[in-house]
């Protein structure tokens, strides 16, 4: 089909009617592209994967944060908390069952979240092959603009964090130490602490946007709930950020040693 009629939108190209002059460009409209039909090809389904895995990570982070705050009760309380995670359900269940379930669920959540993020990022790049010469922001928030790069830095953070405090591989006192010693050793080191602080601020921004986005993705926002959802996003993001920053900053300022 070719469009030559003046009234076919998308095809009619006018030069203005002042001269009674209409330059009409004939174009072949692009072929209908066959959509992919797999369930996981849908961008909305990918976003749902992102939202559900994000919510799983948030729930974990809330529990993790409460655990960290045990550092304020001293080395013994902290180490025994870390021991407790490894023995939940014993003797009915073998040692470390709960820990491994949590690890596997989290690993799946991180991998799926990452897969969906990269896949949607690539789709977005295809969707704007030629950039604007001038583009202004009308309403987007800083948090929404930084989800992708912020998310990538968070991925690096997660890897570092496991190497540091779980495996002890990059930790100043290494693996042959108690969890509490590793914690103090890491946060007595200024560059490491700075990296943690920056990551937690990025996490806060990620969650400020992410919690709103997840609610929207799961089809639960509307004009009436908008303020409540945004409020919830601020509160949860704030609690998680501050909660995680308390321990490292207390070590730096000598409140914990």
């Amino acid at each position: 089909m070719s469009c030559v009629t003046v009234r076919s939108p998308g095809c009619h190209v006018g030069t203005g009617l002042t001269f009674g002059l209409v330059a009409t460009v004939t174009t072949q409209p692009a072929q209908r592209r066959a959509p992919k039909t797999g369930r996981f090809d849908s961008s909305v389904v990918k976003k749902t994967v992102m939202a559900v895995s994000g919510i799983i990570m948030i729930l974990y982070l809330l529990a993790h944060m409460v655990g960290n705050l045990k550092a304020f009760s001293g080395a013994e309380a902290f180490n025994s908390y870390s021991g407790w995670i490894r023995t939940i359900g014993e003797p009915a269940l073998p040692a470390q069952t709960a820990l491994w379930i949590i690890r596997i669920v989290l690993l799946a959540a991180v991998v799926l979240h990452f897969w969906a993020a990269i896949s949607l990022w690539r789709q977005a790049r295809r969707a704007r092959p030629v950039p604007y010469v001038t583009k202004k922001r009308v309403q987007q928030s800083f948090a929404s603009r930084t989800v992708r790069w912020g998310g990538l830095i968070l991925a690096l953070f997660i890897i570092w964090h496991i190497l540091d405090l779980t495996l002890g591989a990059v930790n100043p006192v290494g693996y042959d130490s108690t969890p509490y010693d590793r914690l103090i050793a890491s946060f007595s080191n200024i560059p490491i602490t700075l990296f943690y602080v920056v990551s937690m601020v990025l996490l806060g921004l990620h969650l400020r946007h992410g919690i709103f986005a997840a609610t929207q993705t799961l089809g639960q926002t509307n004009k009436r709930r908008e303020r409540a959802v945004n409020g919830l996003a601020y509160v949860v993001a704030g609690v998680i950020t501050v909660g995680f920053l308390l321990v490292p900053l207390s070590v730096v300022f000598g409140l914990i040693d």
Binding site: G10, T18, R33, S43, R128, Y132, V133, T134, K223
Partner: protein, 252 residues
């Protein structure tokens, strides 16, 4: 009368590379619409033997949605209205204006500022319809519609398919448009038979047309001349997840 400097995207056709070209227009009245200002420029270009700037327009009264332009980095310019409804009094004498086409994988440039928006037609034809017997119009009161739903459906139905949402979106996503079309039918009793298939097919088509996915940034709604709200996208997501739960399969 105002004088303006315009930096306009000129591109011969889809296959050529384009670039910004600078023009000066004088004798612009503040009462002119933006399109009339471009007409003035084109009259001058034609008299000078130059190639006039191609731009899309039709109704010039804000209802057809064909006149999309990026003006100084904002879709449809500084007012939340279509370009034909934008008047030069929104600008000042001596302003420098960058004028670009909508930029999206799904909207290839035809020439200069005109893009091919037929991808929107294909999203509509994928599912933006209802099956209804033709012939005598049924009695209007025979199918009651809750006021809340009819209001929301009417709001969604005001979408004119201009494409500003895609143009403004950092992801180049057409989700606001698709959501408006999915909602306005899905909220009505007449739209129920195809409701599940509609949302799956229309979203699949929007993804296939090289539009991005929504990441809930909200630039779309902020520039939409009809003020279609982000709530509409939430409704689309809700419908799509509901359709998958109900076991509908995304076929083409």
């Amino acid at each position: 009368m105002m004088s303006l400097t315009l930096r306009i995207w000129r591109q011969r056709d889809r296959t050529k590379k384009g670039k910004m070209v600078t023009y000066h227009v004088t004798d612009v009245s503040p009462d002119m619409s933006f399109l009339e200002m471009l007409d003035v420029l084109n009259e001058k270009l034609i008299l000078d033997g130059d190639d006039p700037v191609a731009f899309d327009h039709d109704c010039r009264e804000g209802i057809c949605g064909s006149c999309g332009l990026m003006i100084n980095g904002i879709a449809h310019g500084p007012e939340q209205a279509t370009v034909c409804q934008l008047h030069m009094r929104s600008f000042s004498d001596g302003d420098v204006l960058d004028i670009e086409p909508w930029r999206a994988g799904g909207f290839p440039v035809v020439k200069d500022l005109a893009v091919d928006r037929s991808a929107f037609d294909r999203i509509i034809s994928a599912g933006g319809f209802i099956s209804a017997p033709t012939g005598t119009a049924p009695e209007a009161h025979s199918t009651p519609v809750p006021k809340k739903n009819s209001d929301a459906a009417f709001d969604a139905a005001t979408c004119i398919g201009c494409g500003a949402c895609v143009a403004a979106c950092p992801n180049g996503s057409a989700m606001l448009f698709t959501a408006a079309k999915v909602s306005h039918l899905g909220l009505m009793p007449q739209g129920q038979p195809e409701r599940d298939a509609r949302v799956l097919k229309m979203v699949a088509q929007q993804d296939a047309e090289d539009f991005g996915g929504c990441s809930n940034i909200g630039e779309c709604s902020a520039v939409c001349p009809k003020g279609i709200s982000m709530e509409t996208i939430s409704r689309l997501n809700h419908d799509l997840l509901g359709a998958l739960r109900a076991g509908a399969v995304p076929m083409s």
